[in-house]
């Protein structure tokens, strides 16, 4: 396995933050290729900020190195999947939402693009909805499109910021299963922020817990054999470890 992402001495503070404290102070992290890294931590500990720095949406000091080159601005090699259902372009159909980014990133051959889009939609089970507009979809379907859009681009990293947090429990479980399957079959590296310990254990091949200031207080590989359920052997132990890490003073 090789390192795909390397974060060295990352500092981030917001200029309009009144007390001037750093949201992330001296964060170091390495991510292996094809890893599914789940990031947990209390609200406000800097999970979103970390993803946004990696995505290139925020300025920061320190280094974020992707495949050997430093990250400075957003790029299609790091695709964000947001929590909000409103991340699709409402003026494009489901097909268009997946096709447009491909077209913008230099995929000139229309027939080839069509094949890629149809393939991506099939992976998230939305082939039948290709001609729908986002406002005609449910929240879960919209998140599936966002995932298909990311997969189709074959980015080096997919950065997911609580993509399932706003879904009902059943849909959430459904999408978790789909994402798990995709993460095992696709050649992709995923950073996945969540508040849900169970979700992290089910999906992640590695879990980390952040504390205020972006301090990593827990960082362990998750080698349990997938698919994992709460009744899997060892689940309770990991769950307890992570919970303790989150609530540790």
């Amino acid at each position: 396995m090789s390192t795909i992402l390397e974060i060295k001495d990352l500092h981030k503070s917001f200029s309009d933050n009144p007390d001037g404290t750093e949201v992330l102070s001296s964060l170091d992290l390495e991510v292996e290729k094809n890893e599914f890294l789940c990031i947990l931590g209390h609200s406000g500990c800097g999970k979103t900020t970390l993803l946004r720095c990696i995505a290139g949406f925020e300025s920061f000091t320190g280094q974020v190195i992707l495949n050997g080159s430093a990250v400075t601005s957003p790029s299609p090699d790091r695709i964000m999947v947001f929590q909000t259902f409103e991340q699709l372009f409402p003026w494009k159909t489901v097909f268009g939402n997946v096709d447009f980014p491909l077209k913008q990133t230099g995929h000139k051959d229309k027939a080839e693009r069509k094949r890629v889009v149809e393939d991506a939609l099939k992976k998230v089970r939305l082939s039948e909805y290709a001609h729908y507009y986002p406002h005609q979809l449910s929240g879960g379907m919209k998140q599936r499109v966002a995932i298909a859009r990311a997969l189709a681009l074959k980015p080096k990293l997919i950065l997911m910021d609580e993509p399932f947090a706003a879904l009902d429990a059943m849909t959430r479980r459904e999408l978790q299963n789909e994402l798990l399957l995709l993460s095992q079959t696709e050649d992709c590296t995923i950073l996945f922020v969540t508040h849900n310990i169970q979700e992290a254990i089910i999906l992640g091949t590695r879990n980390i817990v952040l504390h205020k200031g972006g301090k990593i207080v827990y960082d362990k590989r998750n080698d349990m054999e997938k698919p994992i359920s709460p009744s899997s052997e060892g689940f309770g132990r990991i769950w307890q470890e992570m919970r303790d890490a989150i609530y540790m003073e």
Binding site: A55, F57, P74, S75, P76, R78, I79, M80, F82, T84, E86, Q87, L88, F89, P90, W91, F100, P101, Q104, T105, Y133, P134, H135, Q136, L153
Partner: protein
Amino acid sequence: MNRSQSGKNGFVYKLSVRIVFTLVVLGIWEYVARARLLGPRSELIFPSLESIGAAFVRNFVKGYAHLSLWNYIGNSMKLLLAGLFIGIALAFVFSGLSTVSRTFSVIYNYVVSVCDLLPGVALLPVVIVIFGVKSGVIVFLVVHAVIWPMSRNIMDGFMAVPMIYVEAGRNIGLKGASLLFKVYLPASTAYIVSGLKVGWARAWRGLISAEMIFGIASCPGIGLFINQMRTNMNNAEMYATLIVIIIIGVIVQYGILSPIEKNTVKKWGMSR
């Protein structure tokens, strides 16, 4: 029964109410005309429906000064389209520039706010002094009518574009002009469409008023036509021309503006 919820029935209901109402108004009109209720001036104020109908046909066949009403309509439309085109294009250019330069944005916002308050017709004397009585004056007024509300809406629309679309766009490598055209523009379609509606309404009113106040011999339009009908006491023709003006308004509303709305913001679930 809740009529607003009964879809097609609601439509049939509304349509029949309108038809009945129109027939009643026409009936009263015809009665007043036939009974000459207003005495000797009755025929001027309430020409019979028959004579208005005949005048309608006469407007197109005979017209005025050897020109059919078609020619007047054509002239008006020519000036209107030129003005709309220039006004809308300028609105896009200036609003686009104001996303690039902060100073330009401050100045342009200020200019738009001030000019938007100025009724075009009030500018007429000034414009005539500058340009003389030429058809360019009418184009100028149409541009004035459309450019400010259009700019206001485009700029408001750009401001209101949700950050998430912008970030999704930047994420796939869009920036500068490509971000403007591929994200900001479609994302503010609702604002642009409502700017079009306001712009059209003002331009159409402004055009007719300007033509009525001073007709341009080299390019006589509908406003001039209706004014001539009044001076010549051809009142039936006058009413017939009003009907033509209404018909043009209906065609633009239901033939152009509504379809644009239906095929963009309505289709995308984005209407405000």
